[in-house]
């Protein structure tokens, strides 16, 4: 599925429910709104369509330095 999405919708946000691709949207908010309309509070996936996976970087949090006492 990923290769198809990259070919046709790179940069957009995919709304996926189980194995089903519901659609591609310009923003995560639009995809989420459509997901809630269709599925309510049930689980669904909103994923940015890109070659590389996003990584969250926060060194202070990762190293436990947010409220360290030195």
């Amino acid at each position: 599925m990923k290769a198809d999405l990259l070919n046709n919708h790179e940069g957009k946000f995919a709304l996926i429910r189980g194995e089903e691709f519901v659609g591609a949207y310009d923003s995560a908010q639009n995809a989420y709104t459509e997901g809630v309309k269709r599925f309510g509070c049930e689980s669904f996936l909103v994923k940015r369509i890109s070659e590389q996976e996003e990584v969250y970087r926060n060194q202070a949090l990762a190293l436990g330095l947010l409220h360290a006492r030195l």
Binding site: S27, A28, Q29, Y32, T33, G35, V36, K37, G40, C41, E42, S43, F44, L45, V46, K47, E53, E54, V55, Y56, R57, N58, Q59, A60, L61, A62, L63, G64, L66, H67
Partner: protein, 159 residues
């Protein structure tokens, strides 16, 4: 040529609010609420809309994205819609991604929609019993002017 930034609201935090800035970091009062789409869905179904969770946000210019303690989303009943790779002291991990509406009561900023907020374990209390529930990352800070005055131990945040 001079450039002026229109400033509508600001929040000023100084030493009189508690310990020195160096000790606590730059804190701002925050409320985390459910996203508008979910609010509308609950309203249409006649279901109760959970009240926003209040606490403090620590301004974190080192963070690319805003993070909120996982327990806040659990208490609000917001399901996650994605996961993201994160660095931890033990190697690579995964964090859940949620939507949320953010309110800053001190600046009259209400229900700011955040498309993607990282859920993680970060809740703690300062010596003044202020509960930190959010790290305010650069995805939010891009909309603010932030002045950190170390020598006089005060912070001003403009929106």
């Amino acid at each position: 040529m001079a450039y002026f930034m229109p400033v509508f609201n600001f929040f000023h935090w100084s030493e009189k609010h508690g310990r020195t800035l160096n000790d606590t970091g730059a804190l701002v009062s925050v409320e985390i609420g459910i996203p508008s789409a979910l609010k509308q869905h609950l309203s249409e179904k006649g279901l109760p809309i959970p009240a926003a969770v209040s606490g403090f946000a620590l301004v974190d210019t080192g963070a690319s994205a805003t993070a909120v303690d996982d327990s806040v989303f659990t208490s609000l009943g917001i399901p996650h819609f994605d996961e993201i790779a994160t660095g931890t002291p033990h190697g690579q991990g995964n964090s859940k991604v949620y939507p949320a509406n953010i309110t800053f009561p001190g600046m009259n900023v209400t229900d700011m929609p955040m498309e993607r907020v990282i859920g993680c374990q970060l809740r703690w209390k300062t010596h003044e019993d202020q509960e930190i529930i959010m790290l305010m990352g650069r995805d939010l800070l891009q909309y603010f002017l932030f002045v950190y005055n170390g020598p006089s131990s005060d912070v001003t945040l403009f929106y």
